[in-house]
Symmetry: C2
DNA sequence: GGTTGTGAACAAATTCACAGCG
DNA sequence: CGCTGTGAATTTGTTCACAACC
């Protein structure tokens, strides 16, 4: 039985841990052995107190007066995020976006091998894209089973996204990353994260519009404004 | 002089408005003239009180006992988000992702025409992708000027993302959507939003790992768990 | 009657500030 | 002395619950 003292980590913190992790990897690669919350905060573009609080949810892995051991923190953080093992992924939708995602090396590198790319278009079936072969949507249950897939990525048009989600869940997938501009309904216990590219631009648009309304139209100097939708 | 009673809308609300807007468009297309906060909440996957509070930041555009006029709400919301005019976009990086984004019709449709795709690779220059022509990175200042571009999308490898951001800002861009897995540093007043695909998967991984640790490994039934990273 | 709009209660997240420890 | 870890204070976001109004 897998059992540990499982703290519940706040959502906001969970969303930041992968960012710290990437930075820690980089530091490790540069041969940096130790890092302070101050430095890590600077690299992550956040407040140092926030870093310390976030890391404290993992346990007390720092050393007072010194900082955090980079390697050890990478290890603990990876473990907590479940990255000690690969999570094979299936991408549904072999259009532009699906293909680009399948070709994106970052998935593979960070432990999310794209084992299958799935589409309804029979003419695409069999084609090799990145590490993945295109298979037919109807084979989903079998593929999920055989590939040990628990995470699905939806890269289809919005019109079919809900149906695809249903089929993914039916096939046994319990986590979905949705690129379709649609709000998905899934059973309780299934995780969904959404990436809506146009929504991101619309959010930027809001702050752009405010800028121009505030500063008087045709000017591009930056008048020391306050924080905007920035995550810099 | 552009001047209005400019309320400051909370960030969390700004991030949801585009979602409501898309739903309202769909409703309008279906010929629905009126919608209640309850119904809109259901479609957006949120709480009805939240919808009302969010919409109240736009002004009092509902009718008690009736609901919200769909067309009118679309109009007001678009105006507030700055969507009454197009925001031409330049995408930097003509790799897989950059090309997929340039081909994505949703940008154009929602008022973000991709006017240029920019790359350092001279062999790509001149190629037509979607509505955009590939141009050389060195032409950025000129392109931004001529195209009236204020929003840039970074679809390059992480290693050059900061430099690209600097050049975008230098060229006059004031909002950046960053797909590179890097924390960007930009001057105050420049908006940045980040989409990190691997980070999204790592967040899902956390909840997946928790699931398997909790339920005992090889099982795929859903034991009525509590809410997870879901935005369904 | 039905639904909005909003103060007030509550919850989550962030930041402060400092005791505790290496 | 320096930096972590964390209670306490503050800010931001969510939800409740109901008066106001059509």
């Amino acid at each position: 039985m897998v059992e540990r003292g499982r703290r519940r980590i706040p959502e906001a913190t969970v969303a930041r841990l992968p960012v710290y992790l990437r930075i820690l990897y980089d530091l490790a690669t540069e041969g940096v052995a130790n890092v302070s919350s101050e430095r890590l905060a600077e690299l992550a573009g956040v407040n140092a107190a926030k870093v310390r609080k976030d890391l404290s949810y993992l346990g007390s892995y720092g050393t007072r007066g010194v900082g955090y051991d980079v390697e050890y923190l990478v290890y603990q953080m990876s473990r907590e995020l479940g990255l000690h093992r690969p999570w094979p992924v299936v991408i549904v939708g072999a259009g532009n976006l699906g293909q680009a995602l399948a070709n994106y090396a970052g998935f593979q590198e960070r432990g999310f091998p794209v084992v299958y790319l799935v589409d309804v278009d029979a003419t695409k079936v069999g084609v090799q894209i990145g590490q993945a072969t295109v298979r037919h949507l109807d084979d989903l249950p079998q593929l999920v089973q055989e590939g040990g897939v628990t995470i699905g990525v939806i890269a289809t048009p919005g019109s079919v996204a809900q149906e695809v989600a249903d089929r993914l869940v039916q096939a046994g997938v319990t986590a979905i990353l949705n690129f379709a501009p649609v709000v998905l309904t899934v059973p309780r216990g299934v995780s969904v994260r959404k990436v809506d590219l146009a929504v991101e631009l619309q959010i930027l648009s809001y702050y752009e519009q405010r800028r121009s309304a505030a500063a008087g139209p045709p000017l591009q100097a930056v008048p020391a404004g306050s924080r905007r939708g920035a995550s810099a």
